[in-house]
Amino acid sequence: MRSEQEFLEYVQGGGQVEATDWLPDEYRAKLVKFVEMHANSELMGVLPEREWILRAPTLQRKLALTAKVQDEVGHAQLIYRVAEDLGKPRDAMFADLLSGKAKFHNVFHYPTKTWGDVGVIAWLVDAAAIISQKALLKCSYAPYARIMKKICWEESFHILHGRDVILAMVTGTPEQFELVQEALTRWWPPLMQFHGNPIPADQDPMVHWRIKSQANEDARQQFLDGYVPQIRELGLEIPDPKLRKNEDGVWEYTEPDWDELKHVVTGHGPKTSERLALRARFLEQEQWVREAVLAA
């Protein structure tokens, strides 16, 4: 493949390419941006949960949460490696993350107020994420698709762990149930924004290059289909009076606040600067380790 047209037809037909193949410049640029944001999200995504490791209610919960945090950092390692192979050095990615030039997912810019939030994150944020990640198993860039296999496998444990945390609380005291309800009410708007605005597949450059194989709205519909019944059966109330499934099987809902999404992911979330400052501190503190290892 030497022409962009030939390449495009190949990937749009479901073809996959390797790191050593010729890649059109635009494809490479879009892919790096996408992969980098994913890696950043894994790395930043552990911070809301990390805050609760020391406050976890039991030793078993503490260990499970630690394992989940370890998994997510491991995912960041796998994904950063893919981006490095595409030509962007890790130092440059860290620098762009800290300066705000590179983005990470909206849900990781919000506070984790209670243990209920930890359960909702592990259950529903991970459920939303696994829908996007499963669609990436068909990504046109094969090295990325391959690591997704392992990532999806680990995410399944996270969702179950989250569901277990939620079940323990909804079967507990009325106060515990209320903690879950409050957390769900807080997290519902960001969860509905998570898969992005409903840009039609044929206008989404990521779908155009088959980096993504699923339109944003399809992912959100899949999330609602899978999880609204699971939420409601626990007696929890979803804070959207318009939410309902139409006869044609399509979910109707209150239009998510797309301005909020844009505002948050461009670095203006309630916890953005605090978490980036923490990441900056650790990167600086551990610089000597990276230097020592790579100089060995």
Binding site: E84, D85, R146, K150, V293, A296
Partner: protein
């Protein structure tokens, strides 16, 4: 230095390319790979191969059109149809 990681999921399974790690030597590569590709019991063995040591062969010339050596070199559908239609017809007896 980049090390390619191949993972064996269960005894008897093929080693499958899974990703890569960056490490200055085999000892460090092993530490990263154990952590990233085996910490949850998802692998029974790993192969770590320096990327430079991989000799790739991916050009397959077919100038002489050697399809007769492969399944896709034979299309028997039309002939089979004809053979079946001849069974019992007078053409065969003449």
């Amino acid at each position: 230095m980049i090390w390619e990681v191949f993972r064996r999921e269960r005894p008897g399974a093929a080693f499958e390319h899974s990703g890569s790690v960056e490490a200055p030597d085999a000892e460090f590569a092993e530490a990263w790979a154990r952590e990233q590709y085996g910490r949850r019991g998802e692998s029974v063995a790993l192969w770590l191969v320096p990327r430079d040591a991989v000799h790739t062969v991916d050009d397959w010339a077919d100038e002489f059109d050697l399809k007769y050596r492969r399944v896709d070199g034979y299309s028997i559908k039309a002939r089979l149809k004809e053979a079946r239609s001849r069974v019992g017809s007078t053409e065969r007896q003449s």
